[in-house]
């Protein structure tokens, strides 16, 4: 039981990291807290589903198409809406929240609720690790989570666009004097965040089903991970993903599944009381708290 819980805790941690990394990327660079994040996650899953079941495309092309579409949607969202309210935290939050709400409730209104709304697993295969059954999809989550984290790190540290990302995140005005177009980089960061949400959806959704309320859950999980890890810090996301992931799985096994949400809440409260900027949030410490 313990070993099994451990394996699932690792999978859960990588799920959380996958969920949070897009939100964190957007926030860390453009400073936009994308409250439509959960809606983008659900939207991309529904797009794949529609392409598969209404148009009849195979899974992989439709998944790739929906990831691209979501990325484009993120860019459009920034260009059409967020650019006009840039820098006003209140307006950004309300605008993205409004967009997310509209998308999710539209899907709910259209009746996209039920177990038949799900995506297929990549390979239908499972094997035994440490005495517990684990399927291929969960292994994929771990592998892809690792891959994404590493490639994001490489991207932000060893490519010129990635360095421009970090430049904007550190000081927008100084970055401008170096000829970095901050609006373009911010557009990229929002659209990449949306794309990462779509990738996460493609990998994680096959384990469950798509539903509008999933959108709110994803947003909450992403927020929880980012708050605990320190907003805008990738190392923090990984650490917090593991902390919450393990805490959730172990409370699930030893106390019951209803308590998992409460554990995250308590974790957030403790972190906020002791270190309001999150575990690894030193870089922006002065800006995010008083």
């Amino acid at each position: 039981m313990f070993a099994g819980t451990l394996v699932y805790a690792i999978v859960n941690s990588f799920t959380l990291i996958l969920l949070a990394i897009g939100f964190n990327l957007t926030f860390g660079i453009s400073g936009v807290a994308n409250f439509a994040y959960g809606a983008l996650y659900v939207m991309s899953a529904y797009l794949s589903w529609m392409m598969m079941n209404l148009i009849g495309l195979p899974f992989f092309p439709s998944a790739i198409l929906s990831i691209l579409a979501t990325t484009l949607f993120g860019a459009l969202m920034y260009r059409l809406v967020l650019l006009r309210v840039r820098g006003q935290a209140l307006s950004e939050v309300i605008a993205t929240f409004g967009i997310g709400l509209s998308i999710l409730e539209l899907f709910r209104y259209l009746g996209f609720v039920g177990f038949e709304y799900t995506l297929p697993v990549f390979f239908d295969h499972s094997f035994i690790v440490a005495g517990t059954y684990i399927d291929m999809q969960r292994i994929f989550i771990v592998v892809l989570g690792l891959l994404l984290v590493v490639s994001l790190w490489l991207f932000t540290h060893h490519t010129s666009t990635g360095l421009a990302f970090r430049g904007i995140a550190q000081d927008e005005r100084t970055a401008l004097t170096f000829g970095i177009d901050s609006d373009w980089i911010a557009t990229l960061s929002v659209s990449m965040g949306a794309g990462l949400a779509a990738i996460a959806a493609t990998i994680i959704i096959p384990l469950g089903s798509i539903s509008p309320s999933e959108g709110y859950d994803v947003l909450i999980k992403a927020l929880a991970v980012c708050i605990i890890g320190g907003l805008g810090s990738t190392g923090g996301v990984i650490a917090a993903g593991f902390i919450i992931g393990f805490a959730e799985r172990f409370t699930d096994t030893y106390f019951g599944s209803h308590w998992t949400m409460i554990v995250s809440l308590i974790a957030i409260l403790i972190v906020l009381v002791i270190k309001p900027s999150g575990l690894f949030g030193q870089q922006k410490e002065l800006e995010e708290r008083i």
């Binding site: 807290a33 929240f97 209803h258 009381v273 309001p276």
Partner: protein
């Protein structure tokens, strides 16, 4: 006789915007009219409404209160995405007190108001140190997590909730009590924010560090603003408990968080009257649109986006500006 155009407010309003030099009844009416109009309207309208629309009026007043309490927080620099927390805590408190000991609503509602305000303030106290977005994130999470907690621990009736509260003595009292409470909160908060105390709160929103530099303990002021706002939210919740005679998990739903924000944004942030106006527009509208069901929330969401991008000042500020720019023809002195 030559005539020229003159702005009405020229003779009345000095440059500062809220100091008026009144010299005639007409000018007094010009200043007092916009304030008296909603009061008279809200007090007289219920007499002509059908029982169904009287219920709508109650929910209008409740949402207006929540919107005003949201605006209060927003004006002190705290953007809440979880008004449902205040509403729900108030609702549950008065529900539990009434359900357990059978105490009269006239006692449970004030109790729920004060203790609801205290509880919400205490819950949010550790987050007061957080700025803007970080505060919003936490307030968004909180009501949703409280729902899960109630679901998991099965306290307070669990998923079924508590029912069988005692109703308020009469329908008319029920209606007028909440309308008068809403109007008092509206004008009381407007007055409060116009005083020096309100100036400190607005200062915290604009630049918290310079307020700290002035030797003011901003946490104390923020906690007070939070208490005022959450107490108002709690009255609304406690009241609804005794109107619906039921309290359960639906009090923490997103409706009670999103509708106040939508009202305040549509009406205009920063003047309480805007929040009231927004609720007056949106609540009856959503009642008329009841037929389209879930699509209503989609409309609210779009409303939020469109207003925040296209008309960020809101309807109230637009109307206020136009009202103060009304011109009249006067004789030219020779």
């Amino acid at each position: 006789m030559k005539k020229r155009k003159e702005r009405i407010d020229r003779g009345i309003k000095a440059r500062s915007g809220d100091i008026f030099a009144l010299s005639s009844w007409r000018e007094m009416l010009y200043v007092a009219g916009p304030r008296l109009l909603p009061v008279i309207l809200f007090l007289l309208l219920p007499l002509f409404l059908s029982p169904y629309w009287q219920r709508v009026m109650i929910s209008l007043a409740v949402f207006a209160m929540l919107a005003i309490s949201w605006d209060m927080l927003a004006q002190s620099g705290m953007i809440s995405l979880g008004q449902a927390l205040f509403f729900g805590v108030g609702a549950y408190l008065s529900g539990i007190i009434n359900h357990t000991w059978g105490i009269h609503p006239f006692i449970t509602i004030p109790l729920a108001t004060v203790f609801g305000g205290l509880i919400c303030t205490l819950i949010l106290l550790p987050v007061l140190r957080l700025r803007g977005i970080y505060f919003s994130m936490f307030t968004l999470i909180l009501p949703l997590m409280l729902v899960r907690t109630i679901e998991a621990t099965k306290i307070f009736g669990g998923t079924e909730g508590l029912s069988g509260m005692s109703p308020l003595p009469s329908g008319w009292l029920e209606l007028y009590l909440i309308i008068i409470a809403t109007l008092s909160v509206l004008f009381g908060f407007r007055r409060l924010m116009a005083s020096d105390y309100g100036l400190v709160l607005k200062g915290i929103r604009d630049n918290d560090r310079s307020v700290t530099n002035a030797g003011i303990n901003i946490y104390w002021f923020k906690a007070q603003a939070l208490f005022l706002s959450s107490a108002v939210g709690a009255i609304a919740g406690a009241y609804m408990t005794h109107v619906y005679l039921f309290v359960g998990m639906p009090v923490f739903t997103l409706d009670y968080s999103i509708m106040p924000i939508a009202s305040a944004v549509v009406g205009g942030v920063g003047s309480f009257a805007g929040a009231m106006l927004g609720a007056t527009i949106l609540v009856p509208l959503s009642e008329l649109l009841r037929g389209i069901g879930g699509l209503r929330i989609v409309l609210y969401g779009l409303c939020l986006v469109i207003f925040i991008v296209a008309i960020p000042e809101g309807i109230f500020h637009y109307l206020q500006r136009k009202y103060q720019q009304v011109e009249r023809w006067v004789d030219v002195d020779r």
